[in-house]
């Protein structure tokens, strides 16, 4: 018999939530009132520090055009493989009617004009289909707060969505300026000129002028504020797949990553951080290390809100620093978390599945009535472990502090935060910090963290005028990450005699990613009063027709730091919900695809994506014996993805043969990047499903490098087919993360089809 439903918290939480949200809305609305008029124009005006060469003209904040016709687009986001250095220049090029072969990218400098407003707008705890006035106002005001805060950040699969309006508008505005310059130069009416492939033409006279000839003159004209971007029906470049602009330098070794920065007189640092989270340094003896060749110093770094206590060896070359580090005798004060272990944490989570301290994130109808005496009752618990990011480029940063200023080179997901935290570490004003962002050797959320920036600038401040490059070993990277939270879920569902789900109850237990980041970056602002929808993303916003439902979360606090990991809460909630939904289908005696399809009748976009994946996978075709199919659907970051996995069992281990994926991100502005990001997201999720597991014993992370934290490799890579559904630009969604959530449930549901055994825990163990 299933256990009794946990008692819910008193309804006060609902009013409290309303109050907090309303307070936020009022604050946001005030911000809107104060800033709106100023902001509209501000997204075009070039920031004062933006510089151009003599042969270049600046046309809006986003575009430089050189006299040779080169168009250099200022890209406000960071390239970590997701294709942003190609996609965002395309938005400008489309509206400019530029020749894309002449288009180049440049990392934009740090300025509020390049802020990511969408990231905050996405963060409000309302379902994406919540069209209430409260939800809409909260979203808009958060967006405006995002603009006002002026934080540049890459994450939440927001880059194209956030750039869609300002970068297209910038392109259209610059085009108007070039047209005006051409009309002036040729002495003809502007209405008689056309633009194509970077050339303005006056058809009647046959006279032409290239962007390069017009740029300097165009830059002298006032920036018009009323130029509208194109009707999407007239796109000629968006929707095509030109070759990525960042690939040529990535095949010949010339691409510059953070670790490739080389500066005169630079020294290298190797680091050992306290192996237990929250511990501190008791003492160390660096005498032996100091005697080694090339060593310049052995130093201690105190713990900060963003970084762990550490001992560092500095040397002329990295290997000298690394070898010296091994010679330092270190004694740690392991602090209060020295006994923390995963097994105890897990049993605590199990008991919290019945806790009274819950927050309700989604509630509709009445589950109590349906649960009173259902013909069929299902109950199951699910579990996922902590996961590390393991970006291919280990964590590193380079900095120099001189004369009250600081220069930092670091692969990062928020140059604005780098500026703030470098200033804090150096004890200077952030206006005196220059941030350089090279290519990121992987990001996945890890490079939104400021730990290595704090550590490196603290070191650089102790060695004025000397550039320092701090490189973490892979072991430090795996053992000092901010992890994807370990989480548990409880489900109960009531089914009527026809197999309809008459009640859906889901409780999730785990830490808050947003709370963790806030505690690290703004400890004074950390508070449990703020709800964090990332905890329940993919659980509280299900597209299925489940009229009686309740989704709630139990917040925990653990000594293990958690952070944003590709697709965040969706990474586990899609596994939980899509596997349990499969259990419901099985209990109802229905095909898992047909069962979902029936629940999506009111959701035509989801229905189409699900149907596309099933049809392309040949859902109804028979499979060889021992091979099973599973299906899963997840909407995340405003993009809908369905996947069908074909799996078999060999040597008692799952072998994933094929994954068919359908994706609707509204409009695939560069279809090949959409395909690449689906492949990437799928393999990222498959690594988590097959291998990913971070565990702790005696306060220490037990995994340390790729042998103990294994990755999917080429040999385990299934055939992957991606099918794009374009439902329209009004449904624009992200693409970097949405490929990840559905893969684990699709694979586990396929395994059920083969083995008849439910997988309720990752990584998969048969």
């Amino acid at each position: 018999m299933p256990s009794a439903l946990p008692t819910p918290a008193k309804p006060r939480s609902k009013w409290r939530r309303r109050f907090l949200i309303t307070a936020g809305v009022i604050g946001g609305a005030m911000a809107v009132g104060l800033w709106r008029l100023y902001r509209e124009r501000d997204r075009l005006t070039p920031p004062a520090p933006l510089r151009a060469r003599e042969s270049e003209a600046i046309l809006t904040a986003w575009i430089k055009i050189a006299t040779d016709g080169r168009v250099v687009v200022q890209v406000p986001r960071q390239e970590m493989g997701q294709g942003v250095m190609t996609a965002l220049p395309m938005l400008v090029a489309e509206e400019l009617d530029a020749d894309f072969a002449q288009v180049h990218f440049e990392q934009a400098l740090v300025d509020p004009v390049y802020a990511n407003a969408t990231l905050l707008g996405d963060g409000v705890p309302f379902r994406p289909d919540d069209e209430s006035w409260l939800g809409a106002i909260a979203r808009v005001s958060q967006f405006k707060v995002g603009e006002v805060l002026g934080v540049m950040a890459t994450g939440g699969s927001t880059s194209v969505r956030d750039a869609w309006e300002p970068m297209r508008r910038a392109g259209a505005t610059a085009r108007a300026m070039l047209l005006q310059a051409a009309a002036n130069k040729l002495g003809v009416a502007i209405t008689e000129c056309t633009v194509s492939k970077g050339i303005v033409e006056h058809a009647r006279s046959g006279r032409r002028a290239g962007f390069g000839e017009l740029a300097l003159e165009a830059a002298r004209l006032p920036i018009p504020s009323d130029v509208a971007p194109k009707d999407p029906a007239r796109f000629t470049l968006l929707g095509q797949s030109p070759q990525r602009l960042d690939i040529p330098v990535k095949v010949d070794g010339t691409a510059q990553f953070g670790m490739d920065v080389r500066l005169p007189n630079m020294v290298y640092a190797a680091i050992a951080q306290c192996p237990v989270f929250g511990g501190s340094l008791k003492s160390f003896n660096g005498d032996k290390a100091r005697a080694r060749p090339g060593v310049k110093g052995v130093l201690a770094l105190p713990a900060t809100s963003t970084s762990a206590a550490a001992v560092v060896a500095i040397a002329q070359h990295y290997w000298q620093a690394r070898s010296a580090l091994a010679e330092i005798e270190i004694s740690w004060d392991e602090g209060p978390n020295a006994a923390h272990n995963t097994a105890q944490q897990r049993s605590r989570y199990e008991s919290l599945l019945a806790s009274d301290e819950v927050r309700i994130y989604d509630e509709a109808g009445s589950i109590d009535t349906a649960f009173a005496s259902p013909p069929r009752l299902l109950e199951a618990d699910y579990f996922v472990p902590y996961l590390a990011h393991a970006t291919m480029e280990p964590i590193n940063c380079t900095a120099v502090v001189r004369d009250g200023s600081c220069e930092v080179w670091v692969g990062n997901q928020s140059p604005t935060l780098v500026q703030w935290y470098a200033a804090k570490a150096a004890g200077i004003d952030s206006a005196n910090v220059t941030v350089h962002t090279p290519f990121l050797g992987g990001g996945f959320g890890r490079r939104a963290e400021m730990d290595v920036v704090m550590q490196t600038v603290m070191l650089a401040a102790k060695l004025p005028d000397t550039p320092v490059q701090l490189i973490w070993s892979r072991e430090e990277d795996i053992q000092h990450d901010v992890y994807r939270p370990m989480a548990m879920a409880k489900f109960r569902a009531a089914l009527d005699s026809a197999g309809n789900v008459t009640a859906w109850y889901n409780r999730i237990v785990g830490q808050s990613c947003t709370g963790g980041l806030t505690a690290r970056l703004l400890p004074a602002a950390a508070s449990d009063a703020m709800k964090d929808k990332t905890n329940v993303d993919g659980a509280f916003d299900l597209p299925y027709a489940l009229p009686n439902r309740k989704v709630e979360h139990v917040l925990t606090h653990e000594p293990v730091p958690v952070g944003f990991w590709r697709s965040v809460g969706h990474s586990y909630n899609a596994f939980f919900t899509e596997c349990f939904l499969d259990e419901c289908a099985d209990a109802a005696g229905q095909d898992p695809y047909e069962f979902r399809r029936a629940l999506l009748k009111e959701r035509p976009r989801h229905w189409t994506v699900l149907e596309t994946a099933a049809r392309k996978a040949g859902w109804d075709n028979s499979l060889p014996p021992g091979v099973g199919r599973g299906i899963a659907l997840a909407e995340s970051f405003h993009t809908i993805v369905a996947q069908v996995a074909e799996v078999e069992v060999r040597d008692n281990a799952p072998v994933v043969r094929r994954i068919v994926c359908a994706v609707d991100c509204g409009f695939a502005m560069h279809p090949d990047i959409v395909v690449a990001q689906m492949e990437s997201g799928i393999l990222f999720g498959l690594t988590a499903a097959l291998f990913g597991e971070i565990t702790l014993e005696q306060g220490r992370v037990q995994q340390s490098n790729f042998p103990s934290y294994e990755m999917v490799r080429l040999a385990q890579t299934p055939e992957i087919e991606v099918h794009i559904v374009n439902s329209g630009v009004e449904h624009l969604g992200g693409i970097g993360e949405p490929g990840t959530p559905p893969v684990a449930p699709a694979v586990c549901n396929a395994l059920f089809a083969v083995t008849g055994k439910r997988i309720r825990e990752l990584p998969i163990r048969l």
Binding site: R244, K250, D252, G253, E679
Partner: protein, 151 residues
Amino acid sequence: MVSFTVNAQAVQVDAEPDTPLLWVLRDYLNLTGTKFGCGVAACGACTVHLDGQPSRSCVVPVSACEGKEVTTIEGLAHDGGLHPVQQAWIDHQVPQCGYCQSGMIMAVVALLAAKANPSEDDVAAAITNVCRCGTYPRVKRAIRALASTTA
């Protein structure tokens, strides 16, 4: 002092003999195209050719390189033209973040030099490099295309 050849140029390096070739290339010779990924020969980001053989340079002490020929990603292109594998990487739009691709390309060049038309099993056995972005489907496609042009 260790003497060897890097990309057809004679070099002499004054480093501690246990210094891995990876760090000699990156820090002493400024050839930063070869990447540090794990330090334990588990990911392949540091793959170079040592006397023509693919080697994970993070575990090869420089003392073992005396008199040998090292080829890195920077030495792959010839006469101003890309190596066919590099060109295939562009044609098939393989890289994403790009960090692992120097090592991946060096491993594939070595595989195809040893076996112009490898089977799928040959590829799976030889290309064990980690790519966290998951570019493997495109790596496979590019290898297949290269194999069919030489076959």
